[in-house]
Amino acid sequence: MAQEQKQPRKSSQEETATEEVVETDVAERKEMIDEDVDAILDEIDEVLETNAEDFVKSFIQKGGE
């Protein structure tokens, strides 16, 4: 795509090129965010209580206030 950008072109084509660059940026950023999300979920997986169903079921409170 870098090559394409160097070519002289009409303004409408330039716009297309710019959009493509932006899309690539977005894709790269999304990839980074995805990795980031994977990392935090992996970390949280490690601390989550095991047997979610039993744990949630056994959290019983009396009213307060």
Binding site: L41, V56, Q61, K62, G63
Partner: protein, 506 residues
């Protein structure tokens, strides 16, 4: 007025004895309070003073030097006594079936954050201390408001207001604010309805932990038929001058920005009501239903119908209050507005603007958005429906007070949630009182003259002095007296409580 006023918060913590869902929560709560008291409170443990009048020595009827050594031997009578005052001026006690921390009186939103967060650390330490008692089962505490099975417990706010402000004006102008402020202050909840059972694929998450538990617009109750505006009026100050507005509909927040904005924006709105500044009627049709409907729509598109026929989203309703508050502060202070007032206005505007654009932009500041983002990421990765136990677990564990297990704490430690205060500042507030309210006097007395303080409450400190037949009650009826500038030097130079009381009563 500005964001500054006498304020404080009270948080009831969810409590769970690991592996024993049927354990008596009152016993467990007492174990928490007593463990903290035994480990930290010096020598004699001062009692909470329930009496308005000076109690007589023979009216005490209990041994104040006694420590409850073995919590498992607690009787019902002992359970009623788990109630201590801390050197930071706070009250730590058992309220019904929950341990509760009532912060000392403070005057700024950031100090609300500081002493409320200190309370979380007190609860964490208390649970660790309770776990050291031989034969005890670990107790885990949660800063949340519901078990998702029908029970709810509170995180109350208190704001000192001018008595001269008509209560009807408070109800009129505060109700629409309360219906809508949850978009900023909500803690997020998996489950719809009081028992949380309504989790259809599309509808599983709501903004507030508390909204489904509110049933009337105005009332005195706090445990059933909960009202949006609570009428309890016990100012703990001169009742001719002040009322204490007791706010019961808020969520227990972990995110510091959520707490900060909750106290700051509410205080500002109250200032406008006191000043008679609000010139528009934002009254909402069917406030109770509107409160729930707003909570049930995390896309923030739900339209609330105003009595004048306009239809606004909750964010737009908040923007109305923001607009008024900007004009109010400009009108009263211009460029002389204090730093926190300016900061609250800027943050409020920033948060509302981004919530309107895309709520996810606030995932690094607000509890409900942080929680929703995490839940959405799990749903995407693991293809989970809203009724999946794992999502309910994430909701619950978000509020776990332990830094290694609590998901809020994991997100904050990873830099994903903004902090306003550092750990050292919060830790100091576990022991030090605020310097600009009567909590300073209370806290310093507890710290320096522990052996001589028989009891204390918001509006008094009661001394038991050698050679005196009756207890000496020092009233602290004015929340803005007994500050460091009033009594700091006096306490510094009084080596004993006798010297202090002599100097005060001279």
């Amino acid at each position: 007025m500005s964001v500054r006023r006498v304020m404080g918060t009270e948080v009831e913590y969810g409590i769970s004895v690991q592996g024993q869902p049927s354990a008596n929560p009152m016993v467990a709560s007492s174990q928490i309070v007593n463990a903290y008291a035994s480990s930290t409170v010096k020598a004699r443990r001062a009692r909470w003073d329930f009496e308005e009048e000076s109690p007589l020595r023979d009216a005490r009827g209990f041994d104040m030097a006694r420590q409850v050594a073995d919590a498992s031997q607690l009787t019902d009578e002992d359970l009623g006594l788990a109630n201590v005052i801390l050197t930071n001026g706070a009250r730590l006690y058992v309220d019904h079936a929950h341990p509760e921390y009532s912060s000392p009186e403070v005057t700024t939103p950031l100090d609300v954050v500081r002493w409320e967060k200190a309370g979380e650390q007190v609860m964490l330490d208390a649970s660790r201390m309770a776990a050291q008692v031989p034969g005890s089962t670990p107790i885990v505490l949660y800063k949340n408001n519901t078990d998702n099975k029908g029970a709810s417990y509170g995180a109350h706010e208190n704001y000192l207001m001018r008595r001269s402000t008509p209560f009807a004006e408070i109800v009129r102008h505060l109700t629409p604010f309360f219906v809508s402020r949850q978009v900023v202050t909500g803690a997020g909840r998996v489950g719809i309805g009081q028992d949380g059972r309504d989790t259809t694929p599309e509808r599983g998450f709501q903004i507030s932990q508390r909204s489904d538990y509110f049933e009337v617009e105005v009332g005195l109750e706090t445990t059933l038929k909960r009202p949006i505006i609570n009428t309890r009026d016990e100012p703990h100050a001169d009742p001719a001058v002040y009322r204490r507005l007791h706010v019961i509909l808020g969520d227990a927040n972990l995110a510091e920005v959520s707490i900060y904005l909750k106290a700051g924006t509410t205080s500002l709105v109250l200032a406008m009501i006191e000043a008679g500044f609000i010139d528009r009627d934002l009254s909402v049709e069917g406030a109770v239903k509107a409160l729930r409907d707003v909570s049930h729509d995390p896309t923030l598109r739900h339209l609330v119908t105003l009595r004048d026929g306009r239809r606004l989203t909750a964010v737009q309703l908040q923007l109305e209050y923001l607009d008024l508050a900007r004009k109010f502060v400009e009108d009263r202070y211009g460029s002389d507005a204090d730093e926190q007032t300016v900061d609250i206005l800027a943050r409020w505007e920033s948060v509302l603007t981004r919530l309107e654009r895309d709520p996810m932009e606030c995932a690094g500041e607000l509890d409900w958005v942080a929680k929703l983002r995490l839940l959405s990421q799990y749903r995407d990765r693991d293809d989970l429906d809203w009724d999946d136990a794992k999502l309910h677990l994430i909701d619950l564990q978000y509020a776990d007070v332990r830094p290694d297990k609590g998901l809020y704490h994991r997100l904050a430690a990873a830099g994903r949630i903004e902090r306003l205060l550092d750990d050292a500042t919060i830790e100091a507030a576990m022991h030090d009182p605020p310097v600009d309210t009567r909590a300073y006097f209370r806290g310093r007395c507890l710290d320096k003259y522990a052996d001589s303080v028989a009891a204390a409450s918001w509006d008094s400190v009661i001394f038991d002095l050698p050679g005196r037949e009756s207890l000496q009650r020092v009233p602290t009826i004015d929340p803005l007296r007994g500050t460091r500038s009033h009594v700091g030097e006096l306490i510094d130079r009084s080596d004993s409580a006798q010297a202090l009381v002599a100097a005060i009563t001279r």
